[in-house]
Amino acid sequence: MEDREIVELYWRRDERAIEECRRAFGAFLAAFSERFLDARDAEECVSDAYLRAWNAIPPDRPDNLRAYLARILRNLCIDRLRRARAEKRGGKEAWDVLDELDAAAPDEALERVTAEELSAYVNRFVRTLPRRDGDILIRRCFWCESVGDIAKRYAMHPNAVSVSLSRSRKRLAEYLRKEGLLE
């Protein structure tokens, strides 16, 4: 089923929408959330994501359902991650990404801006990067893909991916500093 057909089911409040989402994206969402959390928490987040989507569509009408669900799921995972981390559970790829970004621009230095406002800057920043570096950064920081998997995807040496990421994070910090967001 096409995305727009599934979205139409949502709009008609037809519960088959959730089933179709599970069929189309279930495996992907499960794998994505397990980059953040252990299997138990990951499964719960995926279920919550379906529920959130049910409550948000309508009025939302996403063009890309996969990205839409991924976004919801990511935010849910972040919330759950806080709890898991406090309890020292897990040890997933997302934690490493968190640490990497925190090293580049810690929360304490980003006091003047909310995460939502920061998103707009991040979007603009990613567009300033060369295409490949931008995609690598997205795959790491949004999708929390491991360096090894990114390297395989782009047929690069993992060290080269690390260097690209390091450079992009440095540039991001400079960009935020230039925009007056980073103290």
Binding site: P62, D63, N64, A67, Y68, A70, R71, R74, N75, I78, L81, R82, R85, A86, A94, D96, V97, L98, E100, L101, D102, A105, P106, D107, E108, L110, A115, E116, L118, S119, Y121, V122, N123, V126, P130, R131, R132, G134, D135, I138, R139, C141, F142, W143, S146, G148, R153, Y154, A155, M156, H157, P158, N159, A160, V161, S162, V163, S164, S166, R167
Partner: protein, 427 residues
């Protein structure tokens, strides 16, 4: 737990997420990014192809380098270019445009002809002076075959090192990440890009010809308005855009030494914008890669694997060796490249870069290249302070692993001694 920046990535535009999802590389053809970056076409053809630039017009005349000579065989490996009029048979899949098919794409039977109408020069006027290769570039040869390509550059020690200061100071990283730069568009459309480079401050029209042995050159387009800034320094870029209504052709050429590099790009109008970004990456990488290669610290550099015909990693700076030290839960890896740069990684995190002295580079290179890796494997099984030395061939493939404790392995001991003396490892 600090999550603000991490959370901010949740707000990435769908368009960017979709972009990052697109298959960027077909591993089988990953080398094409490098073929696009630097494959040498037959030199004789390159020299035989006159180029005129008058009053803002760029007109390319002469036989197309994509036109195979009658009865031309695969030139094979080891044959010097110039023994053929044209490079190896270049089978380029043809796009299926709906409108008039002009200009024709290259193929075994279809010669590619350059357009005869004056192009629209988007920026930079072509200098009419004859191209003169840099004095420090001593020799460039190239070979192509049906399944691979090869480029060999030799340069003298008086290569201006100022080139290494171009860009944002991170030039080296681009060289490292050039592998896998090829990108295809899923509709199968063919794009060819030809670029003309000009040395900044000293107009030397150079021609870049890229001709992979098979398959399309590479896809994408140069964002003309930005290209010059990024390709300034050693090479400038003049891109010509031919608008034929149904098709857009971008054309330019570059010569390095006696090697002529040509890219051509042809696209339906709706594909132009997308194509620009992709080729911009490829071209930028090519430029960094090429001028980075022209470094006096490097040896003669051979790209490609003509013997096996396997897809090539490409002309990145080759890793000489990597040294992994594990002590308890900590792992530090030092990747020593053939130009003497050493990268330190802790886990998967890149930490810093150092540069070895020329003497240390020569010592390490001699040590590693003399080592018979197959017979040198020596695992002592110790868990603490275990050293693993991985050796690489010029195509960045692992050729051997030596592991063990310092006391067990003379080679390891020597490598550590050199790196310690250079301040890379703590004494």
């Amino acid at each position: 737990m600090n999550t603000k920046l991490f959370e901010a990535f949740s707000g990435l535009d769908t368009e960017l997420l979709e972009r990052a999802e697109r298959p960027a590389v077909r591993k089988k053809r990953a080398w094409l990014g490098l073929a696009a970056a630097a494959a040498c076409v037959a030199l004789a053809v390159a020299l035989a192809l006159p180029r005129m630039a008058r009053d803002g017009e760029l007109r390319l005349e002469g036989p197309s380098v994509f036109e195979p000579s009658p009865g031309m065989e695969d030139p094979g490996i080891g044959e010097k270019p110039g023994s053929h009029e044209n490079p190896g048979d270049v089978q380029v899949p043809q796009p299926q445009p709906e409108g008039p098919q002009e200009p024709e794409g290259p193929g075994a039977d279809t010669p590619m002809e350059y357009p005869t109408t004056p192009p629209e020069l988007l920026y930079n006027e072509m200098d009419t002076a004859e191209a003169a290769p840099p004095a420090w570039l001593k020799d460039v040869t190239g070979r192509t075959s049906m399944s691979a390509w090869q480029l060999e550059l030799v340069w003298s020690a008086d290569c201006p090192t100022a080139f290494l200061e171009e860009g944002d100071g991170e030039r080296f990283y681009y060289g490292n990440s050039v592998s896998g730069a090829a990108e295809y568009f899923s509709d199968g459309a063919l794009y060819r890009l030809v670029l003309t480079f000009r040395e900044e401050g000293n107009p030397v029209p150079v021609t870049v010809t890229v001709s992979p042995a098979d398959g399309p050159l590479f896809t994408g387009c140069l964002p003309i308005e930005d290209g010059e800034a990024d390709l300034a320094g050693f090479m400038g870029v003049v891109a010509c855009r031919y608008d034929y209504g149904e098709r857009i052709l971008l054309a330019a050429e570059t010569v390095i030494g006696e090697a002529r590099y040509r890219f051509t790009a042809e696209t339906p109008p709706e594909g132009e914008e997308e194509a620009r970004q992709a080729v911009y990456d490829a071209v930028t990488r090519f430029q960094f890669n090429i001028f980075y290669k022209l470094c006096p610290r490097l040896d003669t550099f051979v790209m490609g694997d003509p013997m096996s015909g396997e897809p090539l990693v490409g002309p990145t700076i080759r890793t000489l060796l990597s040294l992994r030290l594990t002590g308890g839960a900590e792992t530090a890896e030092y990747a020593v490249n053939r130009d003497g740069r050493v990268f330190l990684f802790r886990g998967q995190e890149y930490v810093e870069e150092r540069l070895l002295s020329h003497e240390a580079q020569m010592e390490l290179r001699g040590l590693v290249e003399d080592l018979d890796a197959e017979s040198a494997s020596n695992a002592c099984g110790h868990e603490v302070s275990e050293l693993t030395l991985t050796l690489y061939d010029p195509w960045n493939r692992e050729t051997g692993v030596v592991s063990g404790c310092l006391e067990d392995c003379e080679v390891l001991e020597k490598v550590v001694e050199i790196l310690t003396r250079e301040g890379v490892l703590d004494a």
